[in-house]
């Protein structure tokens, strides 16, 4: 049996709701006089238990606001869970917005270095990978131009190319596959497949059910901050379809 790489134990997370501006002062006054002025927090994740093993590819589906992205953020350490524990066997990389930290005034090359260091890669490593990143993004002619001259598709290509250049052990993907033109989409799918085959653990949040069916071993259906279903792709998709129909 393969060893687990990610394990969530009873993870719960809620977002406290706050009043803004004068409302917050009013709340202080109410609290001072002993009036209960609490606002119910928004529960984003409720008692999530999950185990993901090495070599597995897991898909997460669910309606908007069901907690998919929050779950990935807990796995990657962006949010600390309020209760329960999030464990992993090593560094976790989250691929969500592929344009993080990009700066329009820096050249493509400088942005590769910047984004690379945000992802935690050393300068030497980025220097080594530079040519392959540029090649994969197909931006040879533009790479020394400032990023603001790029089209949004080109920027996204560059971002995905950097983010996927280093094959991480544990990879979380949040809806980033839909960038670039048809040709680039095809190649980024292949690249993700490569990453998956390198025995890494992959968790993908997507609304593209067909794609998930192709690459996932298991699919998790999220609903109302909880795991509604966990199992084979076919079953999960039918559960999800039932959910949508209500």
């Amino acid at each position: 049996m393969n060893s687990p790489t990610i394990r969530l134990i009873d993870v719960g997370l809620s977002f406290p709701q706050h009043r803004v501006g004068l409302g917050s002062i009013l709340r202080w006054i109410k609290r001072f006089f002993g009036i209960d002025a609490r606002i119910e927090p928004f529960i984003a994740l409720k008692q999530i238990n999950l185990e993901i093993k090495r070599g597995e590819v897991i898909g997460i589906i669910g309606r908007n606001g069901s907690g998919k992205s929050t779950l990935l953020r807990v796995m990657s350490g962006i949010y600390q869970p309020d209760n329960g524990k999030a464990l992993s066997s090593g560094p976790v990389s989250l691929l969500s917005n592929v344009r993080i930290g990009f700066n329009g005034n820096l050249s493509g090359r400088e942005n590769i270095h910047l984004f690379g260091s945000i992802l935690g890669h050393s300068r030497q490593m980025m220097d080594q990978l530079m040519e392959s990143i540029i090649e994969f993004a197909e931006l040879e002619d533009f790479i020394d131009q400032p990023l603001r001259t790029y089209s949004s598709g080109m920027q996204a290509r560059l971002g995905l190319s950097v983010a996927s250049a280093v094959k991480p052990d544990i990879l979380l993907i949040d809806e980033v596959l839909a960038v670039g033109d048809a040709g680039f989409k095809e190649r980024s799918r292949n690249r993700i497949k490569e990453m998956v085959e390198d025995a890494s653990t992959v968790v993908i949040v997507s609304h593209n059910l067909n794609y998930l069916k192709q690459i996932c071993d298991r699919i998790i259906v999220m609903d109302n901050a909880t795991v509604k279903f966990e199992g084979s792709c076919e079953d999960a998709i039918s559960v999800y379809n039932d959910l949508i129909k209500g």
Partner: protein, 286 residues
């Protein structure tokens, strides 16, 4: 059941674990050290952003304090009459040092709010933001100190061994700005009022700190007021900067130096500890 889980957990570790109060400080420093490359890239991004699209580019680092000083000099001459010969040097040092403090503090207080998108998309130690902002300002400050050289030549001031005071002074400012910046950046996420307050402090502080004037100029006034003045932790670094370049003894009592140094160190320790303890919760508010 619990036994099985424990056994299975051996190879696993907690993602972004909660840090203890006393571990917070070493943990923060370790993270800064580990992210040297990232800090360097953020600093160079900040600096190139500042001078984008400008013809004179880097030259503005020098020109800006110079022009500001000229205005203050003009103002001062109108109000107070003939200033001393070295007054232009003092004022330019004051302006450069104060700009470092004021910009460094405002930037670092706003660093969490300003990097919201990055923080919500990827995990890395967030103390890096305020740190890189302050370092950017430090680099700009040191670069703009070049402007002092022609003044010294013109006034015939030879650099003395006292020049070693200027890194000390900049260090004091850096520590203060970092500490207070870390401390206030978290509540600033909850209440935007903090940013307004900081802006006010850096504006009003300009007048109650010896930027346009020096402590020796204030010596004639009421002594007991002067003691309160030294409670302002920026007075000592400002005066040390001047002493470093013109070779005179800084007109400050010993206790004021101890106070300024301990304020700087304390604010760093308290600021970073508070930041490390609260940042992971505050991310939910971004």
């Amino acid at each position: 059941m619990s036994k099985v889980t424990e056994a299975g957990n051996n190879a696993l570790s907690v993602v972004n674990p909660v840090v203890g109060t006393f571990a917070a400080l070493p943990n923060g420093f370790r993270n800064l050290l580990k992210n040297k490359g990232l800090i360097r890239n953020l600093v160079s991004r900040d600096i190139s952003q500042r001078y984008r699209n400008s013809i004179m580019g880097y030259f503005w680092t020098i020109l800006e304090p110079l022009l500001l000083s000229a205005v203050y000099f003009f103002l001062f001459t109108i109000i107070a009459g003939n200033p001393e010969e070295r007054y232009p040097l003092w004022i330019i040092l004051g302006v450069i040092t104060w700009q470092f403090f004021s910009r460094g503090l405002n930037d670092s207080v706003n660093c969490l709010v300003g990097n919201k998108n990055m923080i919500k998309q990827i995990y890395f130690p967030r103390e890096v933001f305020a740190f890189s902002k302050v370092i950017s300002q430090l680099v700009i400050t040191i670069a703009s100190l070049v402007v002092v050289i022609p003044f010294m030549i013109h006034l015939g001031i030879e650099p003395t061994t006292q020049l070693f005071l200027f890194p000390v002074a900049l260090m004091l400012v850096t520590l203060q700005v970092l500490g207070v910046g870390w401390l206030l950046s978290v509540p600033n996420v909850h209440h935007g009022d903090i940013a307004h307050l900081t802006r006010f402090i850096t504006r009003a502080g300009f007048f109650v700190s010896p930027v346009m004037w020096t402590v020796s100029m204030a010596k004639g006034s009421r002594e007991e007021m002067l003691n309160y003045l030294f409670l302002n932790p920026m007075v000592v670094p400002l005066e040390l900067m001047r002493a470093a370049f013109d070779g005179t003894n800084p007109p400050i009592p010993d206790w004021a130096i101890y106070w300024s140094v301990s304020f700087s160190l304390l604010s760093l320790v308290v600021g970073l500890t508070f930041f490390k303890k609260t940042e992971s919760k505050v991310v939910k508010r971004l």
